[in-house]
Amino acid sequence: MPQPIRESAPKTVLIQLSLQNGKPNARGPIASGPNASGPNASGPNASGPNASGGGAGGAALEGIPGVALQWIDVKTPFLVALWILVAGLAKMVIEVNHNVTNYIPESALLICCGFLLGGVIWGADGVQTFTLTPTVFFFYLLPQVILDAGYTMPNKLFFSNLGAILVYAIIGTCWNAASVGLSLWGCHQGGAMGPDLDIGLLQYLLFGSLIAAVDPVAVLAVFEQVHVNEVLFIMVFGESLLNDGVTVVLFNVFDAFVSLGGPRINAAEIVKGIVSFFVVAFGGSLLGLVFGVLICLVTRVTKNIRIIEPGFIFVLGYLSYLTAEMLSLSAILAIVFCGIACQRYIKANMDEASVATVQHAMKVLANGSETIIFLFLGISAIDKNIWVWNTGFILLTLLFIFVYRIMGVFFLTWILNKFRLVPVEYIDQIIMSYGGLRGAVAYGLAVMLDESKIKEKNLMISTTLVVVYFTVILQGVTMKPLVNWLKVKRAANAELTLIEKVQNKVFDHMLVAIEDISGQIGHNYMRDKWNNFEVKYLSWLLMKPSARRNRDRLFNVFHQLNLRDAMSYVNEGERRGSLEFIRNESAFVDFKKKFDTDISDMMPDITADAADDTLPVPSHMGGTWRHHDIPSVSLEMQDQDLKGLREAEDINSHHLLQQHLYKGRKQHRHRYSRSHFHVNKDEGEVQEIFQRTMRTRLESFKSTKMGAAKKMSHHPKKEDLQKTANGNASDWGRSRPHGDAGIEFPESGGAAGGQRSYGDPFPTRVSYRLGAGVENPAFMPDVETQAPPWLTEADGGAGASVEPSQRAQLHLPWTPSNLRRLAPLRISTQSSDSFQRADAASGPETPPPPPPLPPPPPSHPPPHEGSHM
């Protein structure tokens, strides 16, 4: 918020968390430490030595002090760090029990937690030492939350609803401000507030303008947990972001009016106020766009400084905020549009790792500040000095903001619905009105009021706090039940299937075509024009050439599918084949060799692409991918050429070699670099690490198997149910006692063992996609006559042939056109099946397995629950 901040910004103190009572006293800070951990008895005791130590630090000392407490020097950063820690711990405590956060939004809980902490501080100090100051809030806490919002903004959704959002943000906010201000004034004239209140019309309007704006932080915090449909979400959220421009202008204009005094306001001043709105709002947005472009341009050329490349986004984003603030433009709008403008280009320009870093860092910062904001909103309340109670004023404010919000939303929607292709429904309008949460922005503005001009500043602050608590806590808590009760359309949280994605694309093009043919200019026409412009010029300017090449969305989807297949293949291989991997130390996974021939003639493009790509990880799966400890290991496999190593001697020599290489790795690991990550490239190492991981996994696997049989036993039962439901081979599971899994597993190898538990570790949502990606032969189940060594050995010679994984057999890809291609593969799976054998042994009623096909009736969940492997 431009001017007011600068007026109230302290010149010397950088961060003034502890500046409520002016001079930095020793008691305040000390009290905070113990508060964090609970017992605060040590507070007063510790204060003496600390303060004296700090005070003495600068004085002339005799000799070199052994231990000197430099409290004054570290005080500010120390307190900041400490509070961040406290906020984090508070959040952790709150999130311990999800039953609570299911009903009460986290923001409300954090405020309550703030009450407690504030109470403790108050109890220890007798004065509230820590409050949320506007400087800290607007300069250090708010920007990252808003940047995150802009960076993750769903652009298409946002811009296709931009008209409605603007109407709500501009007209709605003005309406709220004016109506609340005027009504309060009217009530005051009517005598509802008591006789001794000294607030004029302009001051009421000023108050109205600061309380009018819906707060982005509060809205996001509540709506994040209530998954309403995306249009509704974007309306509320977009409004809360964009109405900042209006709030700033209104606030500044009325602030200026209050300073001017009533009589000196003339038409010229009012016109100036209106003009300043456009300057502030559009200037801010434009500035943000400029910075966004700047970010894109910078990330185009950061190839050689990958490590610090994520930093640019934060620094430039923050700079856009500060610059806007400096120029008295809307800082929030600037940083929102900065985020919006740069998001897609930097994702294409930067390294995958950097993109993930940005994403995570953004979330850390935004979530962290959000936590601190709410915590301090609670703490700030525990202060006797600010509380001035005027029942009439406070209750009427609550009533008015609630009522006028509803009226505003319904009226504006009524007008908008005349123009909207898809009207906003009544239920959605109710939620929109109810979602008008006020938050820290209003509080920050209230604190910035000038006490010399507005006598009742404290009343306004307390009213704002009450409003904030009322909306965030009460409305926040009731939001979810209300959404449930009204049956508001929810967001489809399932991921789009491939066909839906294709259909989306067909749709876009179709609608454009129809508009072209019918000669209408509509959204689609505009969007298409914009897209063309974007592809032709903008991406040329802002995107790296290499990134431009691969940007087709459909292709990306496909690429992701393939990647996911690869990962699941590796996972599955680990889970199932791991045992044999370990037992037989020279086992190698060599996709390329195995599938070399198939690949080359089937899908040259894809495989080439997959092979020489750096295997970019799609952002949404970054998490699962990265926390996995050996991904690079597994994917390096295909580079290996291990022909000839199948022979025993070679195996031995290779084994020897590995031992040496392992020693090499130790040295390798100590290499430290600030500017590069060293990725393990060495094959021997890779193998070695892989096998070690396998071994540890085997251990844990064994212990689960052997030791915790009870824990396991419910899985097979579940499978039974599924099978019965399918009407398929329900006898298999029953004929075998669950307990035998552990005993049997060393003999029958990983296949049988893995079969037991595969269901759970796989997140169900990945599932049917796995089937979908079967097309890529590189990741097809091993269906070759030439079995990998571990499998052959596992069979103990019984089958004398391959024991392909169970699901590999079951889940052979079958598209009509693939049948031909896959036929030879399928025939090669003629080997006897461990389950069938088991069946034959245990239950004579089982019909003999019809050789060679089909494989046993599905002893697995339906395809969309298992994986194709």
């Binding site: 619905n417 292709l421 898809v422 489809a492 399932a494 299937t497 491939l498 066909i499 839906e500 294709v502 067909v506 749709f507 093009h509 179709m510 609608l511 075509a513 129809i514 072209d516 043919i517 019918s518 000669g519 209408q520 200019i521 509509g522 959204h523 298409d528 063309n532 087709d552 459909l554 292709f555 496909f558 599918l561 899908m603 493009d605 894809i606 399918n726 398929n728 089937g771 979908a772 990606g773 079967v774 097309e775 890529n776 079951l810 052979l812 890809p813 079958w814 598209t815 009509p816 056109s817 693939n818 049948l819 399928r826 096909l853 089909p854 494989p855 599905p858 339906p862 395809p863 969309h864």
Partner: protein, 217 residues
């Protein structure tokens, strides 16, 4: 607006308005557009669509144009097949598939509109009118979609189409025996697959009541 009053066949328009749900103003505008496209002829042929420059870079141009000449989309019950030229009535009938539904609808009406729009989309894919979208047909669509992205095009398109088809098979058939053969997407499956798609609120364009064609030739 002026165009509307100068048109001779207003009664015919009223009839069309009743059949297609367009307002008279909209029909007037579309009439004008039709004349413009057909170069003042009474019928429209495929070549006429090539005169729309904006359409030229649309990857699924041919499917769209084909849809205009597909009997199934004419809202008459005279079966399948394609025609060589269409009159204004047919043009309007096809257009009416993209008319936004009115604001307050009962559930059944909404469902009916959904079905109708879905059927249009389905027909666009099912070129040979055998009631299923076969893999070949689907591949064709995806290929066209990707036809602008150059070299990647064909093979990728094939891969995507196959993957999508597999997915469809696994969703709509549940488990299949390996030697089963997934014939293609039937309309029921299509409906099920796009359940979340809200086609009734998305497959709409805004038909102006005012005259704009001068802006977009």
């Amino acid at each position: 607006m002026g165009a509307l009053h100068s048109l001779p066949d207003d009664p015919q328009h009223a009839d069309l308005a009743e059949k297609t749900g367009f307002s008279l103003e909209q029909i007037g505008i579309l009439r004008k557009r039709f004349k413009q496209l057909s170069a003042n002829e009474e019928t429209l042929r495929r070549e006429d669509f090539n005169t729309i420059p904006d359409l030229a870079c649309n990857p699924i141009r041919s499917q769209i144009i084909e849809a205009f000449f597909d009997r199934r989309n004419f809202r008459q019950s005279d079966g399948a097949g394609t025609v060589r030229e269409i009159g204004f009535g047919e043009f309007l009938a096809v257009m009416s598939h993209f008319r936004p539904p009115s604001i307050h609808l009962k559930e059944e009406q909404r469902e009916a509109i959904r079905m109708e729009k879905l059927r249009f989309l389905f027909n666009m894919h099912d070129t040979d009118n055998d009631g299923t979208i076969t893999l070949e047909e689907y591949r064709h669509v995806v290929e066209e979609l990707l036809s602008r992205s150059g070299a990647l095009g064909k093979e990728t398109a094939k891969g995507i189409a196959d993957a999508a088809m597999l997915e469809v098979a696994s969703i709509s058939m549940g488990h299949m025996e390996p030697d089963e053969f997934y014939e293609g997407i039937t309309f029921e499956h299509f409906n099920k697959l796009l359940k979340e798609f809200e086609i009734e609120s998305r497959m709409n364009i805004r038909f102006m009541n005012m005259d704009t064609p001068t802006l977009c030739k």
